[in-house]
């Protein structure tokens, strides 16, 4: 028993204990007990029949994980294919320009040769026809009209 209160000669404490002991929690009623058992039984049944956490995790995330594995697998296989059969035009350009720049050390200045190589690769990557005329698509009549309408000086 609570010696601190019970064995005290202090009447005040004795009174306190006596009053506190009167505060009894009302026991569960029949209705409360029935509800408690019903709900607990249902929860225990569910817990007992519920698959383990790994299986539940697989059910929930299995599809997502499978899809990711397939995607990673496909990209891996594709990567091998490119690696075996050569590289695409775009990556060829990139590798060219990269290798061109790589050949220049920090102490060297970019000479005209490297600059030309870089410009060529960039122009190719953007799809311009470097040998083409800016006004190559214009007919002779249209060119004549332009010459008359605009003072282009030495350009044309």
């Amino acid at each position: 028993m609570t010696d601190e209160l019970k064995n005290s000669s202090d009447s005040e404490l004795g009174k306190l204990e006596a009053e506190l002991k009167k505060l009894k929690v009302a026991p569960l009623t029949q209705n409360e007990t029935a509800r408690f058992y019903a709900r607990l039984d249902a929860a225990l049944d569910e817990a007992a029949t519920r698959p383990n956490i790994f299986y539940r995790g697989f059910l929930r995330w299995g599809a997502v994980v499978s899809a990711m594995v397939v995607l990673v697998g496909m990209s891996f296989i594709t990567g091998i294919k490119y690696g075996q059969n050569g590289i695409t035009a775009d990556s060829r350009i990139t590798s060219f320009s990269t290798s061109a720049v790589d050949q220049v050390t920090e102490d060297e200045e970019l000479d005209d040769k490297y600059v030309d190589m870089l410009i060529t690769s960039q122009v190719q990557s953007y799809g311009y026809d470097i040998s083409g005329d800016l006004l190559g698509e214009i007919s002779d009549d249209e060119l004549q009209m332009l010459k008359e309408a605009i003072d282009v000086g030495e350009l044309l």
């Binding site: 404490l13 009053e19 505060l23 225990l44």
Partner: protein, 180 residues
């Protein structure tokens, strides 16, 4: 832990639902009383009681029998209840003068000589901080030794004694106005 309880626990751990049901029947009232004294709401106490037994069932295999089964249950119920109080941020409120409470907290089994005194004590109990209230309830009402309460609350014995001491002081303070 007595032999019969040990046997029930062993069978329940092996998956015997009837054995677990018997453990529920034997322990539900005292666990409910503890939770109710902490929450002062019967529906909440019922919910937490169910949660506690469900958690006990799920982690039954982890129970090694170092303490009694009821102490282990008290520990689960105490944690659930303290977590609930923390989450719900229950602020104890009781107007001692008017005796206004959310609902009657306790059933008075004896005739009340001094209703005002009972109200003051009920109010003081309600206003105790959760840890102090838990220590007080386990010691005073459940009559557990401090060593066992320390295990249930996962605190040192001296901390538990301090909680109990402070709770007692606050209850004595509530009695101050009723001195003869």
């Amino acid at each position: 832990m007595h032999v019969e309880e040990q046997e029930l626990v062993r069978r329940a751990q092996a998956g015997d639902r009837q054995a677990f049901d018997k453990l529920v029947v034997e322990n539900k009232d005292k666990v409910f009383a503890l939770i109710y004294r902490m929450t002062e709401n019967r529906e909440t106490a019922l919910d937490l009681l169910q949660d506690s037994f469900l958690a006990a069932y799920k982690s039954l295999k982890k129970f090694r029998g170092d303490s009694g089964f009821s102490s282990w249950l008290y520990r689960i119920a105490s944690n659930k209840t303290l977590n609930y109080i923390r989450r719900a941020r229950i602020i104890p409120f009781y107007n001692i003068e008017s005796g206004v409470g959310a609902e009657p907290a306790y059933e008075m089994t004896d005739k009340i000589e001094n209703e005002a005194l009972q109200k003051a004590l009920t109010g003081a109990l309600k206003s105790l901080p959760p840890q102090q209230k838990l220590a007080f309830n386990l010691r005073f009402y459940e009559e557990l030794p401090f060593a066992e309460i320390a295990v249930i609350m996962d605190k040192s014995e001296s901390t538990v004694k301090t909680h109990y001491q402070k709770a007692t002081e606050k209850l004595r303070e509530a009695l101050k106005d009723f001195r003869d």
